[in-house]
């Protein structure tokens, strides 16, 4: 029974960290229509920033400032936000599919730097010994995992509430107006480029926070954690849950991560141990097909986009 609780808590911690990434992507895609295919890159920047800030000093590698974890998280948000600002300043004026290709390339470039700049990031060996929250409780696994779950759930809730508030604020309404009719919004004196950049940077910062959360929870990161498959998982989560809807982002993360873990169980049950690598490939096939199927059958996802974002207008029967 305790094992089940432990596993459930572990599952939720991972799912909620993905939910934070989804919330970040929702700002960029759901609210602003920016097609960011480089999610993995921003998560990586946040994770490595937090790792470099919080790990103890290591020979041959930059960083190791042994800062507290909270500083690591803030540093991650700043680093990822900065990265998004630079990327956004250069690329946001591109057409949507060009933005997709460029952000895809950026994620590849970031992963390459993580893989090769051994003096900065530890190269293919990654960074280990990243301090974990509540490390003193590590002796009692169940309390440790529950404490971490509380922390991550609290962070996810905080992020969700902040972003919901933001979506219903004047800033969020401008984003909605820009999506509906950019010329009209511009004619009212709103600068679309600036708002798009702000949304991109904010989304990137939230993704960086999630990266830090993941890094500090697992305690070890490597460049292989940030391949395009991660970007793809997050997109599947957002689309399944319903893009344009913060609740959908969280729900999609939990549902898709649940499906992923379930299919992982199924694979390990069906396939013998020496075939596990191939079984993992089949898992990805299943998720890819599922995403394509959802796009054809129910593109709005489970919850769908929220029709009204202003809190001054009653949203009684206006939810789609």
């Amino acid at each position: 029974m305790l094992d089940l609780v432990g596993y459930g808590a572990f599952f939720l911690v991972t799912a909620l960290s993905y939910a934070i990434i989804c919330l970040g992507l929702n700002i960029q895609w759901g609210q602003t229509g920016l097609f960011n295919v480089g999610v993995a890159g921003f998560v990586a920047v946040g994770a490595y920033a937090s790792a470099l800030l919080t790990t103890p000093e290591t020979a041959d590698r930059f960083g190791g400032f042994e800062m507290p974890i909270a500083v690591g998280c803030i540093g991650a948000m700043i680093a990822a936000g900065l990265c998004a600002a630079i990327v956004g300043a250069i690329t946001l004026r591109l057409r949507a599919d060009y933005l997709a290709i460029t952000t895809f390339g950026i994620a590849v470039a970031i992963q390459l730097v993580a893989l090769n700049a051994q003096g900065l990031t530890g190269g293919p060996f990654g960074i280990g010994f990243i301090p974990r929250p509540f490390a003193a409780l590590a002796e009692t696994p169940i309390i440790f995992i529950l404490a971490n779950l509380g922390l991550v759930a609290g962070l996810a809730l905080l992020t969700y509430l902040a972003l919901e508030r933001l979506a219903r604020s004047p800033w969020g309404r401008v984003l909605r107006a820009m999506r509906e009719d950019e010329t009209a919004a511009a004619s009212l004196g709103k600068n679309p480029r600036l708002y798009r950049l702000q949304a991109f940077v904010l989304g990137g910062a939230v993704m960086g926070l999630a990266g830090a959360v993941q890094a500090n929870f697992v305690g070890f990161i490597a460049p292989d954690n940030y391949l395009p498959a991660l970007t793809f998982q997050v997109w599947a989560m957002l689309i399944v849950g319903g893009s344009g809807n913060n609740r959908g982002a969280v729900l999609g993360a939990i549902v898709v991560w649940g499906l992923w873990s379930l299919s992982g169980f199924a694979m390990s049950a069906i396939f013998p141990p020496e075939q596990q690598a191939r079984a993992a490939a089949l898992q990805i096939v299943a998720i890819g097909t599922m995403l394509a199927a959802i796009l054809v059958v129910r593109p709005r996802g489970i919850l769908g986009e929220e029709k009204i974002v202003s809190r001054h207008v009653p949203a009684t029967d206006a939810r789609s």
Partner: protein, 302 residues
């Protein structure tokens, strides 16, 4: 400094250019960035490999290589059949997925779907064939001296030759044949093309078939000169996009020249900086083109 890297870059560029032709055609006629194109390359290579094994199983005495090349007629025959099959694969993907999403309207959804389909196709290959690299032949070829300090294997030379032939054939198809003119018209303005009586559905089908077939050819050549593995096409995706964008979307000669430039740039980067950041070269090229001249070398519209 020897000029060998230029020759290597040219061979790689030829293969990138070939793959980029299909990509630029689908991009200009179907108006979306197809992330699945790299996986058509991988599927083409694996389909050819499977067919070669099938042929090899039916002829017990084996087949001799053609001249100085490392492959014999089974690879050629298998390659031709695989080109058809890969074209049909592309068509099937369109029928199952892209055509349904096209009716909905949004181009972004098409790209997301292609991203998902790409992952699924790639992982399917990994599941069926495992991620161990495969080869058409274990023979090691001796590279022949072409220029002082530059050597190329017969396989690499045949790659260059085949690319030239296919590009010429594509150019003739697009400029001299009815379907080619229809394709060019549809890429300019699909609505107007329909008004003039062009069967846009047939143009779309032809585009997928040709794109898939050319991707297969690129895959076979890549498999002959390097190796076959499930990620071979996906790893080429950024160079393919770079070639298509550099050459100008919709332009076949542009795609080929773009491919050659990308190949040479990557080879030069490896020579001067090292192989670590080779994958970033294509990305930097894309960035440079999109910031300086988004329409590319031969492109007419952004």
């Amino acid at each position: 400094m020897s000029l060998q890297f230029l020759a290597d870059g040219l061979v790689m560029g030829a293969m990138i250019g070939l793959g980029a032709i299909g990509l630029t055609l689908t991009y200009s006629i179907l108006r979306f960035a197809n992330f699945t194109h790299g996986d058509f390359i991988s599927w083409g290579a694996y389909l050819t490999l499977t067919l070669v094994s099938v042929i090899g199983a039916t002829i017990p005495q084996g087949a001799a290589p053609i001249g100085a090349l490392s492959f014999g007629w089974p690879v050629v025959a298998a390659g031709l059949v695989a080109m058809v099959l890969t074209g049909l694969l592309a068509l099937a993907l369109d029928l199952l997925l892209f055509s349904r999403l096209r009716r909905r309207g949004s181009a972004i959804v098409l790209v997301i779907a292609s991203f998902g389909a790409s992952l699924a196709l790639r992982s399917l290959l990994e599941f069926i064939f495992t991620s161990r690299p495969a080869y058409f032949s274990r023979e090691i070829q001796v590279a022949l001296p072409i220029l002082p300090g530059v050597r190329l294997t017969p396989d690499q030379l045949s790659t260059l030759g085949l690319t030239a032939v296919l590009v010429a054939a594509m150019h003739l198809l697009l400029t001299r044949s009815h379907i080619g003119r229809a394709m060019r018209a549809t890429s300019e303005n699909p609505t107007l093309a329909r008004v003039v009586g062009i069967d846009v559905a047939q143009v779309v089908r032809t585009t997928w078939l040709i794109g898939g077939a050319l991707a297969c050819a690129a895959g076979v050549m890549l498999g002959l000169t390097v190796q076959i593995r499930p990620y071979m096409g996906f790893d080429l995706l950024l160079p393919l996009f770079a070639a298509a964008i550099l050459g100008g979307i919709g332009s076949v000669p542009g795609a080929v020249i773009g491919g050659l430039i990308v190949g040479l740039a990557e080879a030069a980067a490896v020579q001067l900086i090292g192989a670590n950041y080779r994958a970033a070269v294509a990305f930097l090229l894309i960035l440079a083109v999109l910031l300086v001249k988004p329409t590319g070398i031969f492109g007419a519209r952004a």
